[in-house]
């Protein structure tokens, strides 16, 4: 079939209204950021709830990371809306049958939970600062104490209970939030590429590996910047977590793909043509090959050989970066890929990514990097570092 140039170039037969891509790269960035939030929270919970002591050096950092990224979750959506000024309509008069309508509530609940947990986790530091400082920042910390400067052993035990309870509630909240994002795509029956019961679970597992990987990169980078030694046991703990979850993520992705191809319902010819053509590089090579299988093999090798020290840190950091890239490609391949397969089942479209503009590549990069800038600021206000803390206890 001859390619025909239009707004979105296409081949074959597509519905006329499909030639405009309605969900841009920002809608791929949105689940990516949400996934990082859920994944980072997982790390924090592994320590707070499940007692993985070797993750203590990153536990507070994970919480701050989750909060920093959560602040930016609504941004890609607001930038994408035709009428962002009406965004609150979805919260004020939610349409209860809509998977999207509940997002405002889930997200707000989770943000509040994160803020409260972060407050409890940082209370001793806030109180200390409030008492020591007399400058403007001191006033800020005094305000943040909310009138409570009790850091006695009894109060700390009380705080710990709260942190534990919030972390327990936070696990289903964070994962529910992200699983629901997957459901938003999986429940769209009109798109063969999205419509899958496994979609929510795939999103969840890819979220966990992306969040843990982000923590690896942030932790290693922060140690380098602060010129403190890297806690190798902590990095190893994170590596094990990635290793375990990436296998599940890969198996799920494989099952999803296999069942779609094996069932071979109407329109599967187009999907096969798509995955073996335009999707070959972004899906098989970048997302699966380089982004997932390579780190899995590399991590397996390091675990098998008992790598330690610099080799382990470098290896895990590179693997984590690859996983971060892989999960972004997964979001891209779902959101953009789903729209590249026409609803007619008889044609393929090709998304043209603009660089500038409200929904361009530059904006996507800014939105992914902005939370890191906020995190940088937050770590100055609430230092999450627990240098040389815990691994000896593990």
């Amino acid at each position: 079939m001859e390619p025909i140039l239009h707004l979105a170039p296409y081949t074959g037969w597509v519905y006329p209204n499909e030639t405009v891509f309605e969900w841009s790269i920002l809608i791929a960035v949105y689940p990516y950021i949400t996934g990082l939030v859920a994944g980072a929270f997982t790390v924090s919970s592994l320590y707070q709830v499940f007692g993985f002591e070797r993750l203590k050096p990153v536990a507070h950092l994970a919480l701050l990371t989750s909060l920093s990224f959560m602040i930016f979750v609504p941004m890609p959506l607001l930038l994408h809306l035709g009428h962002p000024e009406r965004a609150f309509n979805a919260v004020l008069t939610p349409h209860l049958t809509s998977a999207m309508a509940m997002f405002g509530f889930f997200a707000s609940f989770y943000v509040v939970l994160l803020i409260i947990e972060t407050w409890f986790a940082n209370r001793p530091f806030i109180v200390a600062q409030a008492q020591q400082r007399s400058d403007l920042l001191g006033r800020f910390y005094r305000l943040l104490t909310l009138g409570s400067d009790d850091v006695s052993e009894y109060a700390m035990r009380f705080d710990k209970k709260w942190i534990f309870a919030l972390a327990v509630i936070g696990i289903p909240a964070a994962h529910g939030l992200h699983g629901y994002v997957g459901f938003m795509y999986g429940s769209v029956k009109a798109r063969e590429w999205w419509s899958s019961d496994l979609m929510a679970v795939i999103f969840l597992f890819s979220a966990i590996i992306s969040g843990v990987s982000l923590l690896v990169v942030l932790y290693v980078a922060s140690c380098k910047l602060r010129r403190v030694p890297i806690d190798v046991a902590c990095v190893k703990g994170l590596a094990y977590t990635i290793w375990g979850f990436i296998m599940v993520a890969l198996v799920l992705e494989g099952l999803e793909f296999a069942s779609m191809i094996y069932k071979g319902v109407e329109g599967v010819d187009m999907i096969i043509q798509y995955v073996t053509g335009p999707l070959l590089i972004p899906y098989f090579v970048l997302q699966i090959g380089i982004g997932a299988v390579t780190p899995l093999l590399w991590l397996s090798y390091m675990i098998w050989r008992g790598s330690s020290g610099k080799a382990l840190v470098v290896g895990v950091t590179v693997c984590a970066s690859l996983v971060l890239f892989s999960v972004f490609m997964m979001r891209w391949n779902v959101v953009i890929g789903g729209q590249e397969i026409s609803k007619t089942g008889k044609g393929l479209l090709s998304y043209q990514l603009p660089f500038f503009g409200k929904e361009g590549a530059l904006m996507a990069i800014v939105l992914i990097l902005a939370p890191i800038a906020v995190l940088f600021g937050l770590t100055r206000l609430f230092p999450p570092w627990a240098d040389g803390a815990a691994h000896t206890q593990a």
Binding site: P16, E22, R86, N89, K161
Partner: protein, 282 residues
């Protein structure tokens, strides 16, 4: 964990016990609520809007149930319907957004592949010379055509519309007289409905920044007129009427023909009924 003192462990155990109790209560409540919620969120929901009547006092929307018929055997692909729709409803004057469109299916001799195009195809736009008027280019004049036909398409105004189901604000809704509409003053422009429509009937209006689609010319039919596309069709390929009236054109069309709907497997229960379409039409 190993370093925890006994009292701390006991406290944790007590907390978990409380948590377990709370979870059981919450679980029971959720279970009970689910019984009420499940039928309401299922795609089979009858999502009719409330309100006594709309939009005029002398029109009672509980007295009608509109329906649309397409007789593909009659369509000649003149595209007057497309142009009339664009003018009547201020649809953006471009070649990629339509409330209604016509598809052309052509089988060539000795070629197993069916060739499908619509008025938005660049070859057809080149033939019409403008993105405001439409015509089908005579692109198969040198080929031996084995079989060919036209299929007009539009919103199916489904009984179980997936666009209505996914709308986060309820800005898109189904009226009591069976028409799926968008409230342009309430739509937030998220385009979830555009994704959810299996028929590609919706688009995002770049001028109003809200979702847009066929309304069966609701402003006309509530005044006793026919939709613009039905009005201008020179061959009677488009049929419109009240399904509650047994003698209306649509009731007669459904009674006198073996009709079918598009993508029935989606479960949307469309209200546009087709006659004379082939197996590859979806």
């Amino acid at each position: 964990m190993t370093k925890n003192s006994k009292p701390a462990l006991a406290a944790r155990r007590a907390f978990l016990a409380k948590l377990g109790g709370a979870a059981t209560c919450a679980g029971a409540a959720v279970g009970a609520a689910a019984l009420g919620v499940i039928p309401n969120v299922s795609a089979k929901t009858e999502a009719a809007a409330d309100g006594a009547s709309f939009p005029t006092k002398d029109y009672d929307w509980t007295k009608h149930e509109w329906g649309f018929g397409v007789d593909a055997t009659k369509c000649i692909g003149c595209l007057r319907c497309v142009e009339a729709c664009k003018r009547e409803n201020d649809v953006p004057a471009n070649a990629h957004q339509f409330r209604t469109w016509v598809e052309r299916y052509v089988h060539l001799d000795g070629d197993e592949q069916v060739h499908i195009d619509s008025q938005q195809d660049p070859v057809n736009i080149a033939a019409s010379g403008s993105e405001k008027t439409f015509r089908f280019a005579n692109r198969y004049k040198d080929a031996k055509v084995y079989k060919a036909f036209f299929v007009p398409k539009l919103c199916n105004h489904c009984t179980h519309p997936s666009c209505v189901q996914v709308c986060p604000t309820g800005a898109t809704f189904r009226t009591k007289d069976g028409v799926v509409l968008v409230d342009p003053t309430y739509c937030i422009g998220c385009r979830y409905c555009v994704q959810a429509c299996p028929y590609g009937a919706r688009f995002f209006n770049e001028e109003t920044h809200v979702a847009d689609k066929c309304t069966w010319c609701y402003h006309r039919i509530t005044k006793g007129l026919r939709p613009a596309c039905v009005e201008v069709c020179p061959v009677g390929a488009r049929i419109f009427g009240d399904q509650k009236d047994p003698d209306s054109p649509i009731s007669l069309f459904i009674r006198n023909n073996r009709v079918q709907v598009l993508k029935a497997e989606m479960g949307n229960a469309p209200n546009v009924f087709y006659v004379g379409i082939d197996k590859e039409v979806n």
